[in-house]
């Protein structure tokens, strides 16, 4: 309607070309597109000019970083709420379970095994890789179990976590630590997926991206726990 003649011309010719396009040529286009995609990835975040020399980031990894951002916000909200609530009345003070120190060691160690397994994967040492991710997953589960023991310990000492008569201070601990464990277990599931994929005969997997993504996530929940542990230890003084 409003388009000037010139504009329409260039485009309609491109269009008419394609009416007879077969599947084959389309696939060809697709390969071209993939090349294009790689080029696009060079256009880095926020830079106003294309800078191909900068290292590109894999879109799935990028997506993981964004997801981590929202997990951070979730815990930031909880720990802020913790501080706000603490400043108000009726706040029970009690020492954290000693066993949290052990779980901290366990999760730190699991980060190491995760790191080594990713390294083994890149070195194509698949036996070592599988052993190490299994170990990491086991350590993750052990971590969860230790946290659980911590809470039963608290209960034994008369600190009620949930239910009638519980104090918000203990409930906060339960929710924050509990949610963190849920995230660790999520990581364990991801590890299991990797594990079974490594055994599948159908396809050989060379791309290190899935392993790298899981390992980023794993280190993240590790660091998150360190933060939470320090936070809970110091703010609760």
């Amino acid at each position: 309607m409003f388009g000037s003649g010139k504009e329409v011309d260039t485009q309609s010719s491109a269009r008419s070309n394609l009416r007879f396009r077969t599947r084959k040529t389309y696939n060809l286009q697709r390969t071209k597109y993939n090349v294009q995609l790689r080029k696009n990835l060079n256009v880095m975040i926020m830079s106003t000019v294309t800078s191909p020399e900068r290292k590109r980031i894999h879109p799935h990894k990028f997506t993981m970083w964004l997801a981590l951002g929202s997990i951070i916000m979730m815990f930031a909200a909880l720990t802020s709420a913790y501080i706000v609530k603490k400043e108000q009345s009726n706040w029970l003070l009690f020492p954290l379970p000693k066993i949290f120190w052990y779980s901290t060691l366990v999760i730190l160690f699991s980060s190491l095994t995760m790191f080594l397994s990713a390294k083994a994967f890149k070195a194509r040492d698949m036996v070592k890789y599988r052993t190490l991710i299994t170990l990491t997953a086991v350590l993750g589960i052990l971590f969860g179990a230790l946290q659980w023991t911590g809470f039963t310990d608290l209960q034994l000492h008369g600190v009620k976590i949930f239910g009638v008569g519980s104090n918000a201070s203990a409930s906060f601990l339960g929710i924050i630590v509990g949610l963190h464990v849920v995230h660790v277990l999520g990581g364990v599931i991801a590890l299991l997926v990797l594990f079974f994929r490594a055994f599948s005969n159908k396809q050989k997997i060379y791309s290190p991206v899935p392993v790298e993504i899981v390992s980023t996530y794993w280190h993240f929940v590790d660091i998150l726990w360190i933060y939470l542990f320090i936070f809970l230890s110091f703010v609760n003084r």
Partner: protein, 607 residues
């Protein structure tokens, strides 16, 4: 005419295929009804799914407001047909108090989250981001599809809450405890609230999946030459919207988790010293703080209002510039002000809490930060007006709605400045003044943004035009109606009339407004009917509208108009065009417009 046949089926060229284990999957499937319309991974189809689901919700939510306006306008009248449709909720033809509160609450929740968040950014982020940045699809079409399905699941759960025995939640869209935390507090606080929480949790998941995808696409999948500063403002706005959502919805989620534990597991985060009259019981909960919930809620709640508004701002910028045939005035200032608004959105939540016993010193800091938002807002208004100034304006329906948006944003923004002053807000809080403020600045304005977007991009969505005459009628009646409905509410609010009351006729001081309320309710009915006209126009035009015959009917510079009239999955046949310039070369060097794909000429002037 169309390339549908060519592209469909094997065109599932997803951005990962280049990197997915370094191998290519062959897609041998045929497009069936199911894969094309139901489990579609094409961003354009997902956009339409969001749009149409949003429209269904808009009708339901709008109808609810008509019902409760009947109560407010005609508190003494009885309407026997109400009993026919609502049953026990309208015994004797008069809406019961419980039903009234349930209607108000569901109206608010649905309009804010399902229509203006999912329906608005869900539609246009999906539709426009890949088309305008030059990408085949979203970074992860799969996640994109899931985001719609989570939204649909949230919708189904919310809808089901309307039909449960005890009715939907009725404690206001903000779901403050204790009403939201105690099943015994009101009928709606029972199953209705469980469903509300479930629905909202699903909704948060949907928003996170969507937001991650939008950000990832804008940052990673731009076509060659499309630097960030060549992006159309729609994309910038949608980008900031997604960032806001990604950072604020998890906070709401945390607040909900605590609420769920208070509801179901006996904790005392939000509850303290409560005696419930209906069961004659004192609760054991001690030491909780309802204010804590308000902090968590409004930390999302305020960014949420901008999540609703920013997409509208972006589309309006684009539509104004295109139809004024002039470059947008102050492109960088527009981005800067979007950025400022996005930052400030996180720093002002306590202006919803001035009367909660907030420390007045803290309050004054929030006053300052709140009033600061007026600065970027004013920059935007100034730039829109200067874009229009001496433009060669084409008054298409889309353009009219965009101009209407600017008018509404000014009117509603000004009353925001009143409310932002805590000294005034102590008087105005929870009155009809607030209702007037946010309906004009957020509700109607964003709705106008959405209408503008629909009229403007309809030719790209369906390859047909909507009927112009109906569009003009729709615009003028809605515009006049919206002001007639909400303007008088300012006076009611100034006179102290509180919001969320069932019946004002029993108060001596509000009897003076009886006629005014009747008037408002009457206009509401008319404006609602006018929206049906729009719906008719929308659906009729899908099948019978005038066909689009040129690629670029509005003479736009942006990339979406370089795709075929009916773009298949993958958007462009062949290579994605390269971009050589910004999106606003209108009226440059004597040319009406220069598309982004045209290389910069040797003797071209600088903009």
């Amino acid at each position: 005419m169309s390339n549908d046949a060519v592209l469909h089926g094997d065109a599932v060229v997803l951005p990962h295929s280049g990197v997915h284990h370094g191998e290519h999957h062959e897609h041998h499937h045929h497009e069936t009804f199911i894969t094309k319309y139901v489990f579609s991974q094409d961003h354009k189809m997902i956009a339409k799914q969001f749009l149409i689901t949003g429209m269904v919700w808009a009708v339901i939510g709008g109808l609810m407001s008509v019902l409760f306006r009947l109560q407010l306008g005609y508190p003494d009248a009885t309407f026997p047909w109400l009993e026919d449709i609502l049953g026990k909720w309208a015994k004797g033809g008069r809406i019961s108090a419980e039903a009234y509160y349930a209607l108000v609450t569901t109206h608010g929740t649905v309009l804010v989250f399902f229509v203006l968040t999912a329906g608005l950014s869900g539609t246009f982020a999906n539709f426009l981001i890949p088309l305008q940045v030059g990408a085949r699809d979203m970074a992860s079409p799969m996640m994109n599809m899931l985001s719609y399905w989570f939204f649909l699941a949230a919708s189904v759960v919310m809808l089901s809450s309307i039909f449960v025995e005890t009715g939907p939640f009725s404690g206001g869209w903000t779901a403050y405890p204790p009403l939201s935390a105690l099943g015994d507090a009101s009928p709606g606080s029972k199953t209705g609230m469980d469903l509300w929480l479930t629905s909202m949790a699903l909704f948060v998941v949907s928003q996170l999946l969507a937001g991650i995808n939008y950000i990832s696409t804008v940052l990673n999948l731009r076509t060659k030459g499309m630097s960030m500063t060549r992006l159309p403002l729609t994309i910038w706005a949608l980008f900031f919207t997604a960032v806001l959502g990604l950072l604020s919805f998890p906070v709401l989620f945390s607040g909900f988790i605590l609420l769920i534990f208070d509801r179901n597991f006996g904790t005392s985060f939000y509850l303290s010293d409560i005696f419930i009259a209906s069961t004659n019981k004192a609760l054991p909960n001690e030491g909780g703080s309802a204010i804590l919930y308000q902090h968590l809620f409004w930390f999302l709640g305020h960014p949420e209002v901008y999540i609703i508004l920013l997409p509208a701002m972006g589309m309006v910028s684009e539509i104004l510039s295109t139809n004024a045939r002039k470059p947008i005035f102050g492109y960088m200032a527009m981005i800067g002000s979007l950025f400022a608004i996005a930052i400030l959105a996180f720093l002002v939540w306590a202006h919803h809490m001035f009367v909660t016993g907030l420390n007045p010193f803290l309050g004054s800091i929030f006053v300052l930060l709140t009033l600061l938002i007026a600065v970027p807002s004013a920059i935007k208004v100034f730039n829109w007006l200067t874009t229009l100034w001496r433009g060669n304006i084409r008054f298409t329906p889309g353009m009219l709605f965009a101009i209407g948006f600017v008018s509404l944003f000014i009117s509603g923004g000004l009353t925001g400045i009143w409310l932002g002053n805590s000294a005034l807000d102590i008087h105005l809080h929870d009155t009809y003044f607030v209702i007037a403020h946010f309906h004009i600045v957020m509700g109607v304005a964003s709705m106008f943004g959405m209408f503008a977007g629909i009229y403007h991009w309809y030719p790209k969505m369906y390859g047909r035009y909507m009927n112009n005459t109906l569009g003009y009628i729709h615009f003028w009646l809605t515009m006049i109606g919206a002001y007639l409905i909400f303007w008088p509410m300012h006076y009611e609010g100034l006179a102290g009339m509180p919001r969320r009351y069932y019946d004002y006729s029993v108060w001596e001081s509000f009897k003076q407004f009886a006629e005014l309320n009747k008037f408002i309710s009457t206009v509401v009915i008319i404006v609602f009917a006018v929206q049906l006209l729009f719906l008719f126009n929308f659906f009729y035009s899908i099948f019978k509208g005038r066909k689009v015959t040129t690629l670029n009917p509005w003479g736009s510079t942006t990339l979406e108009w370089t795709t075929p009239i009916h773009p298949g999955h993958g958007n462009w046949v062949g290579e994605i065009p390269e971009v050589h310039r910004w999106a606003y070369d209108y009226g440059k060097d004597g040319q009406e417009f220069i598309p982004q794909t045209q290389p910069v000429g040797e003797h071209e002037s600088h903009h």
